[in-house]
Amino acid sequence: MEIGLIHYLIISGILFSLGIFGIITRKHAVMVLMGLELVLNAANINFIAFAKFGGMNIEGHIAAIFVIILAAAEAAVALAIVLNIYQNFKHVNVDEVDKLKG
């Protein structure tokens, strides 16, 4: 069986769902961030798959690289936030960081 676009998309869909699941269910902030990475990578797989099969060509590659750069920046910022949360709350449990509760 030839590996086509649809297989890539399924992989990416599984990856995205796992990432979302991780974001929603994990309590530890770092785990949430890791989930986020999964989501971004799922998107990257999509971009590349479309670049190869869908006719996006070079634009798909550039978008993927762009997303990787963005993810790096996002990781830096988010880790800084997590460090701040740790300084304030002495833990990084996302469930208990609910100061914005109405």
Binding site: I23, V94, D98, G102
Partner: protein, 727 residues
């Protein structure tokens, strides 16, 4: 002297006393006695300057009717108010009269007022008065005249109420002021009528307007009324019937004030005003003036007979003489009316200063004897002053002769002229106008009687009280003014002929002015005599809108004679000359009878005064109570005002207050209603909005868990929902 110089000097004369007022009112307390010296010196300089100005006007500019200046004061849109000042012949004479008498009174007061604690204030007020009086004299327009008119009113008020600790003095001041206000209201109305019609306050503009035939409201009747209204001002100031009541009360002021203001100058302002605007009075207005003057002269002469207060006798005598002047102007005797103003100013000032001298001496005697209850002004407390106060007596007897109208005095000349004028007038007009000379002659007789009664009771005989015995002649500064003023009452200053003033300078410089009233509304005898060829003298009766003029004397055709500075000889003057000798003999006879009667009753006591009093009880009481004028005015005017005020008060209490209370009640009810609306409807809406928002807020706030993960779930859900809709 050029005209400009004359005017400049006049301005200086006018402002000098004001300077004295400023100095004395602001620095007087520190100056103390010096304030009197300052005031007197200023007026002395003023007198010298006034003499210079008067001489220049009467000699160099004798041909000029008036030396004057005019300038625009206020420009309001298209109307301009022009004012100015000027010196004509009568103003020049008045300048002399005012400044000289003012100077003598200032001098007299340095002694008379020396013990008063408000010494400086007295001099300040005298300065203010002199300033305003000179303003009246110099004004050549109604506006300035009116302004200064009110200024003399206020200075008169201040000086009458000078001893304001005394209730009577304060009341007298108020009475004078309010009574004058009634007259001034008329004066103002008259001025407004003229300004409305002729658009100017200047005498010359108004007179030119009348001469050109323009009538106020196109009606000659209104011209008559304008004249009468303006004359009302004179009635107030010159204390003419029925506004004469304030003058006798004004004697509450210090006696030098009475001499200056309420005998010689201010009360003559009314006469001066009538003389100034003489040319604009119609025949009817003149008749009114003559009648008022006659009533005043007669009425107050009858009152003066029984008064026992030294100054009250003189006060009523002043009112009576002012009546003579007004009457003379009313009958057309312009020259004699003004002449009497001047001569009367001298001898009446002298009489009052003599009264002041007597009262001052009585005061000192009382003080000496520690008597503080007797009345120093009551002539029944005097008697025998002839021996203790010889100089006062001598001057007094001389000026009394002048007032009684005895030859060799100035009073004789002027009064004789007036009486001859009334005879001529009555002869020319006839009918009921004969009452005027009859009353005038009897008033002249009474004048002689009451003056000699006063003199005999106060100066002759034995001292009636201990006080009179201890009186002493006053100092030089008191006697000197008396002597000067008595000398001024000699005939030689006015004419070389002691029994006839026709050749005197006064008849030349104070010639009657040419009337500006159209001939149809003026006495024919006041119009200038025409050339024989022009005399058509249509004596046809013209039905003018008035009945009181005897129709024969109204000439229909119009005059074209040019007005000249000297006036023109008219029929009245001619007739007055004819009546000169009859009037003289008659007046001498009547005055002689009056004097004789006074001597018979009071000196030799052939007839007992008490018996006469009992015999003519009614007349005596009437005269003593001043014809009940004060009581009548009290009941009618004061009582009426109070009643009216009470009625207004009731109206206020019930009607106005009722309306106010009702509207207050209605407002309260209405505000209650709006209050309910506010509380329940408006607040209800507001509260409902608030609780509605609050409910949803609390409902929705539960979604804000603050947990990032739950937000993501919501986002995902949202995305899924969107996807559902898109796909």
């Amino acid at each position: 002297m050029t005209q400009d110089l004359v005017l400049l000097l006049s301005i200086i004369i006018l402002l000098f006393p004001f300077l004295g007022f400023i100095i004395n009112i602001f620095l007087g307390k520190k100056l103390g006695k010096i304030s009197g010296i300052i005031g007197t010196t200023i007026i002395c300089i003023d007198f010298v300057l006034a003499a210079l100005v008067a001489y220049t006007k009467l000699s160099t500019y004798a041909d000029l009717q008036i030396v004057q200046t005019r300038f625009d004061w206020i420009t309001l849109g298209s109307s301009t108010i022009t004012v100015g000042f000027g010196i004509d012949n009568i103003a020049a004479i008045m300048l002399l009269v005012v400044t000289l008498i003012s100077f003598l009174v200032h001098l007299f007061s340095t002694e008379y007022m020396s013990e008063d604690r408000c010494y400086y204030k007295f001099y300040a007020f005298l300065g203010l008065f002199t300033f305003s009086m000179l303003g009246i004299v110099m004004a050549n327009n109604f506006l300035l005249m009116y302004i200064f008119w009110e200024l003399v009113g206020i200075s008169s008020y201040l000086l009458i109420g000078f001893w304001y600790e005394k209730n009577s003095a304060a009341n007298a001041g108020k009475k004078a002021f309010i009574t004058n206000r009634i007259g001034d209201l008329g004066f103002f109305t008259g001025i407004m009528i003229l300004y409305f019609t002729y658009g100017s306050f200047m005498y010359e503009d108004v007179f030119a307007g009348i001469a050109s035939g323009v009538m106020p409201f196109n009606s000659p009747l209104m011209l008559t009324f304008a004249g009468i209204f303006i004359f009302m001002g004179a009635m107030g100031k010159s204390a003419q019937f029925p506004l004469h009541v304030w003058l006798p009360d004004a004697m509450e002021g210090p006696t030098p004030v009475s001499a200056l203001i309420h005998a010689a100058t201010m009360v003559a302002a009314g006469v001066y005003l009538v003389a100034k605007v003489f040319v604009m009075f119609t025949a009817d207005a003149l008749t009114f003036i003559a009648v008022i003057g006659t009533i005043t002269a007669f009425l107050s002469a009858t009152i003066a007979i029984t008064q026992t207060d030294f100054k009250k006798v003189l006060a009523y005598s002043t009112v009576s003489q002012l009546g003579f002047m007004i009457m003379s102007l009313g009958v057309g005797g312009y020259t004699n009316g003004f002449f009497h103003l001047m001569t009367h100013a001298w001898f009446k000032a002298a009489l009052f200063l003599a009264a002041g001298s007597v009262i001052h001496a009585m005061h000192h005697a009382m003080h000496h004897m520690h008597d503080h209850h007797s009345d120093p002004q009551d002539i029944n407390n005097m008697g025998g002053l002839r021996k203790t106060m010889p100089w006062t007596y001598r001057t007094f007897i001389f000026v009394t002769l002048a007032l009684a109208g005895i030859p060799l005095t100035s009073g004789f000349l002027s009064k004789d002229g007036i009486l001859a004028g009334t005879l001529a007038y009555a002869n020319l007009t006839g009918g009921w106008h004969w009452i005027i000379p009859v009353m005038a002659f009897s008033a002249a007789g009474m004048t002689a009687f009451y003056m000699f009664r006063l003199m005999i009771v106060a100066f002759h005989g034995e001292p009636k009280t201990e006080i009179a015995k201890h009186t002493k002649e006053n100092k030089f500064v008191v006697v000197f003014p008396l002597v000067v003023l008595s000398i001024m009452s000699l005939w030689v200053f006015y004419t070389p002929n002691p029994i006839n003033a026709n050749q005197g300078w006064i008849n030349k410089v104070v010639a009657p002015p040419q009337t500006v009233v159209p001939a149809a509304y003026q006495w024919s005898f006041l119009l200038p005599e025409k050339e024989e060829t022009n005399v058509i003298a249509e004596q046809t009766a013209v039905a003018v809108a008035n009945d009181s003029i005897s129709e024969e004397v109204i000439v229909e055709e119009h005059k074209t004679a040019e007005p000249s500075a000297h006036g023109v000889l008219n029929k009245l003057q001619e007739e007055t000359h004819h009546f000169h000798y009859p009037a003289m003999f008659l007046s001498l006879l009547i005055a002689g009878m009056g004097i004789l009667l006074a001597f018979v009753i009071y000196q030799f006591k052939y007839i007992s005064a008490d018996k006469l009093e009992a015999r003519f009880k009614f007349l005596h009481t009437l005269s003593l109570r001043k014809w009940y004028f004060d009581e009548i005015y009290n009941a009618m005017v004061v009582g009426g005002t109070v009643l009216f005020a009470k009625l207004l008060g009731m109206f206020d209490n019930y009607v106005v207050d009722g309306i106010v209370n009702l509207s207050a009640y209605l407002t309260r009810v209405f505000s209650n209603l709006t209050g309910y609306f506010d509380n329940y409807v408006v607040d209800g809406i507001v509260n409902f909005t608030a609780s509605f928002t609050g409910f949803w807020g609390s409902a929705l706030k539960k979604m804000q868990t603050g947990r990032v993960q739950s937000y993501i779930v919501f986002v995902l859900l949202g995305v899924l929902i969107l996807l559902y809709f898109i796909i």
